[in-house]
């Protein structure tokens, strides 16, 4: 799980062009959105697209997204349980 969390951190930094943010700056147990990363609702859509493209996971339900994006730990668990790629 730690490796997957590290992988997701790298994807967040690269995908959202988080300049001056290092992986260790992103807490694994804090909400991904609405915190210090400055990510907004468009970024949430982008993350949905990343999950589909990189892991073959299709999120079509808002409630599912809310739970998966609750934290990086939650996201890693969600990816581990649903990945097709």
């Amino acid at each position: 799980m730690e490796a997957l969390i590290a992988e997701l951190k790298d994807k967040l930094i690269a995908g959202f062009k988080l300049e001056n943010v290092k992986p260790e700056d992103i807490p694994a147990n804090s909400p991904i959105f609405g915190t210090g990363l400055g990510l907004d609702s468009i970024d949430a859509l982008e993350l949905v697209a990343i999950l589909e493209q990189d892991y073959g996971i299709l999120i079509q339900d808002r409630k599912v997204a809310d739970e998966a994006f609750a934290s990086l730990e939650a996201l890693a668990g969600f990816v581990e349980a649903n990945r097709k790629a």
Partner: protein
């Protein structure tokens, strides 16, 4: 109404950037070359500001240029209180708008690109950053020299619809698209530049300026001390 007063000006182009408050600075050679190649990333926000808008790196060329030009008005922004910002208008003039982003989106749709497929997005980004709430409009003209934007601003000021107006002329054409435009005869401007001026009402202290029919690009270049030949 008194003649409008030029409160501040900023300019970003392939050769450098400037502000009426601090003068002209040429890009380092590496950045000039990157701009010529159409590369986005070397032009960083930190080159013009110490502040850190997290979204800048995710913006398209047009928004980056417009945001940078508006940021170069920083000393004037600091002098505007919230009541004035509520009555600060924004007028953007562009020739090709976000064409490059539209092409990229058509080739590879992404949510993060979608937000920048409207030429007016730059207005929203600037208004969020500087908390501007006056009237706003985005105009498209064949040559985005800013004459129409200035004209609109003068109308707003004369009609007391705004106390201050930000005028922005902004185009960010990828070198490849500019070349395609030339070859096709469409005549896309070979432009990668943004000029911003902040206008207020003139008074006895600030004086006034006759800006009717003035080229905003030239006005900003003069105010920023940009050399005529770079």
């Amino acid at each position: 109404m008194n003649a409008p007063a030029l409160l501040a000006a900023g300019l970003v182009d392939p050769f450098g950037f400037g502000a009426s408050a601090s003068g002209w600075t040429e890009w380092p050679t590496g950045i000039r070359e990157a701009i010529r190649r159409g590369e986005v990333d070397p032009v960083r926000w930190s080159l013009v500001s110490d502040s850190d808008p997290a979204r800048f790196a995710r913006m398209d060329w047009m928004c980056r240029l417009g945001m940078m030009a508006a940021e170069l008005l920083a000393p004037a922004w600091a002098g505007l209180d919230d009541a004035v910002r509520e009555r600060t208008a924004v007028c953007v003039e562009t020739s090709v708008g976000c064409l490059d982003t539209d092409v990229r989106f058509a080739r590879a749709p992404r949510p993060s690109l979608f937000a920048y497929t409207l030429p007016s997005t730059v207005m929203g980004e600037i208004c969020i950053r500087h908390r501007l709430q006056g009237p706003m409009v985005c105009l498209v003209s064949m040559r985005a020299e800013g004459r129409q934007a200035l004209g609109q601003a003068l109308d707003w000021l004369a009609g007391a619809e705004a106390d201050v107006c930000l005028c922005l002329a902004c185009d960010a054409v990828d070198p490849g698209h500019a070349e395609a435009g030339r070859l096709s005869g469409i005549g896309l401007p070979e432009a990668w530049r943004a000029a911003a001026v902040l206008l207020g009402r003139g008074d006895a202290r600030t004086g006034g300026a006759d800006l009717d029919g003035v080229d905003l690009m030239e006005l900003a270049a003069r105010a920023c001390g940009r050399p005529e030949t770079t």
